[in-house]
């Protein structure tokens, strides 16, 4: 095993998966929102819903495409760079990921074509059904990915035979408490991402005093959904903390910045952890709160990092800070959603430019929260790839050379930078052009597919041509 190849492989996995997660987390929420819009439009016939649908569909198209192409890489990367993991845990992770592809990926891909190109070719109910199937596919996909990752975090339901992890209780692996708590946390995060992107776009249009009808719908629905979901999300976050506390104590200690066993334990709000000295600098700490958060008790003993041998400790600085950034993002979003919904209920939101600005600028927060949350979970799992069972260093492809890994990392970095730069540029241009750039017929008749010029052409039929051309 080549140490440089290991490091580069880890960097490559971190880079490609971070890039990938941005798009599904956006498109899971967006697919659900498109389904709601299409259903509302079929029910009420209100043109704003249809305009919004066509508008967000185009943005969904770009994000979904980026999610698909960066997702294909993941299906191969476990084998190219982590062949030992693939061989040993393949009997468990392979079936879980194959369920993801079978139940989700194909569903999304097949109905996505109808969503983008097929409006004029299918009856309205079938179009709504296709939208719902895409949304269902993205959700199922998230479930299986979380089930797979959960097995790496909390391996269960298996026996070891000849160095291979052989599953003997699939019910435990798939239907356990941990995968469902983690899936719920991820799904809420995706819905919040969609909600805040939609709300931010609405706020931006109101600030520019354009597309008022559509902007109001976006702002109200986005912030309203955020106001309802954020407390639920924080509750699921707490449940996630519980499983980490019970099943991954070293990760929990790293997140808490707790170096030594404490009874009762304090809660470090903020500090600068110093791994060399095994202590924190500039620490702000609340006594006893650590025991309350960890065990709902005033007197419990909480484990510190020094209780684990050094070779079994995760890095501290990354999980410690990423966790705090994630929580910070959630609290800011909660404040925005609640204040915004309150003002909107009394019809005063539109005049409050400060809050509109804050909402507009909040769109990166859900993405930052998702990335930092994942960094907390994944870096906190180290030095294990399968927690407590298989070390990351033993999982890497044994004969991978540093220069092969360097080439692949360079290839992925350059390709992803190129497609990300253009993708965000095109999404930005779509957002700037606004909902009325869609080219859909103004005199829309509710419940009837709209005939357009160039109907025989599937591209033109879905209003697929670039806005503003």
């Amino acid at each position: 095993m080549d140490a440089t190849a290991l490091l580069l492989s880890r960097l490559q996995f971190a880079f490609t998966i971070s890039f990938h997660i941005i798009f599904p987390s956006f498109s899971i929420g967006l697919a659900a929102w498109l389904t709601v819009l299409e259903a509302l439009y079929l029910k009420t016939g209100r043109p704003a819903y249809r305009t919004l649908f066509e508008f967000w569909l185009k943005i969904f198209g770009v994000a979904f495409g980026l999610g698909v192409v960066s997702g294909i890489v993941m299906a191969f990367q476990f084998g190219t760079n982590w062949s030992e993991l693939a061989r040993m845990s393949g009997p468990i992770q392979g079936p879980l990921l194959s369920y993801e592809t079978f139940t989700a990926f194909t569903l999304e891909a097949s109905f996505f074509g109808i969503l983008i190109f097929g409006r004029s070719r299918v009856p309205p109910w079938f179009y709504l059904f296709s939208t719902a199937m895409v949304a269902l596919g993205t959700t199922l996909s998230a479930f299986w990915i979380m089930a797979n990752n959960t097995w790496m975090q909390v391996p269960t339901g298996y026996v070891v035979q000849n160095g291979i992890y052989v599953p003997d209780d699939w019910w435990k692996i798939v239907m356990g408490w941990v995968p469902w708590v983690r899936f719920s946390h991820m799904l809420m995060a995706a819905y919040l991402t969609g909600a805040f992107c939609v709300a931010a776009t609405g706020a931006w249009y109101l600030l520019r005093r354009v597309y008022k009808d559509e902007a109001h719908v976006m702002l109200r629905m986005g912030l309203g959904l955020g106001a309802v979901l954020l407390p639920i999300q924080i509750f699921f976050g707490h449940l996630n903390g519980d499983y980490v506390h019970d099943l991954q104590p070293a990760k929990f200690a790293a997140i808490e910045g707790r170096w030594h066993d404490e009874q009762p334990a304090g809660e470090v709000l903020i500090a600068l952890p110093d791994p060399a000295a095994e202590t924190n600098h500039y620490e702000i700490k609340i006594p006893v709160l650590g025991s309350i958060i960890g065990s709902m008790s005033l007197t419990s003993k909480e484990v510190g990092l020094t209780s684990f041998p050094p070779q079994d400790r995760p890095p501290v600085i990354i999980p410690f800070f990423t966790f705090r950034i994630m929580v910070g993002c959630a609290l800011i979003m909660l404040a925005l959603a609640w204040i915004g919904s309150y003002l909107s209920y009394y019809g005063r939101l539109e005049r409050n430019r400060l809050l509109l600005w804050a909402t507009f600028l909040s769109f990166p927060l859900p993405f930052i929260a998702i990335l930092t949350g994942w960094y907390t979970a994944e870096v906190g799992r180290q030095p294990w790839v399968v927690y407590g069972v298989l070390r990351t260093a033993q999982a890497v492809t044994p004969f991978l050379t540093a220069y092969e890994a360097a080439i692949s990392l360079a290839v992925f970095c350059s390709v992803y930078t190129l497609i990300f730069a253009f993708g965000t540029y095109y999404i930005n241009r779509l957002l700037r052009a606004g909902p009325t750039g869609t080219g859909i017929a103004r005199a829309a008749v509710p419940n009837r597919p709209i005939s357009l010029a160039g109907d025989q052409n599937p591209v033109g039929a879905a209003g697929y041509a670039p806005a503003g051309e």
Binding site: I72, G79, R87, P91, G94, T106, I114, G423, N457, P466
Partner: protein, 328 residues
Amino acid sequence: MVTFWVVLLAISILLYVLLDGFDLGIGILFGFTRSDARRDAMVNAVAPVWDGNETWLVVTAVILWGAFPLVYSVLMSAFYLPLIIMLAALILRGVSFEYRHRAKRSRWVWDWSFAGGSLAATFMQGLTVGALVRGLPVVDGHYAGGTFGWLTPFALLCGAGLCLGYSLLGAAWLIQKCEGEIREIAYRQITWLALGVLAFLIVVFAYALADHLRIIDRWLERPYLFVFPVIGALAAGVLGASIRQHWDGLPFTMVVLIFLAAFGTLAISFWPYMIPFAITIDDGAAPASSLAFMMWGEGLFVFPLMLIYNVIAYSVFRGKVAANPHHG
């Protein structure tokens, strides 16, 4: 249960080759087309379905991982660089579908990505199959050939051959799907492509004989294998006739038959090996508890559904696409 997964794996690979084959092939032919209107029409002939087609590649990869983890780990790690290039190529061509519609000044970037990505991905796929036929060095369940162990003239030849083969599929799809100028050009190209593929097959066969590839022995042991080349030859005959007579519906079916014949030949000459002469199907198979979990859910119930979605997607977009697409 192992047999069940071998069959599903074979169906998935075959569907991938046929379906993504024609859209990759159109991507290659796109590179030889100058006119913007014709390029748009070619992209439109595959845009609604390419994503579903490429899904079968992922299906293949995850069936391998779940049902044959040893084979997955050996193949993926052995073909490190070819797979990385293939993935990068598939990414670039995949985003091109969306981006070339959005781009104004930078359109040429995505036109290049579409054509170049299709070509590179196809070449790498052919190369890996060629290297497998040639035989991979495997010791104790690990690939042992080094960074370029797969790089042989035979593998390169197979890479080029698959580019011709996918282009042939692509041209046949264009004949079936398009009208006017595109169809006429496709008819001209298909003649040369069909001859090219024929020449390639002869060269590969001669090379395999001359080089005493072990796979040839299996042919002499199993003469019934020759039924596949015979099917292929008959299909090639009908293909020739349909090209001369301009029967739009036939060429694609005939090219599919030729691919089926080639696939059948390869699959049966590999049997019972998955990685020839190193890892057999039974060596590579996952434990029964994994295979059963996969079979009783996704295998028996979801797999037929996947086929149904594909049929729905294709039937929604059946019929010819317009020759001169309209950009509103």
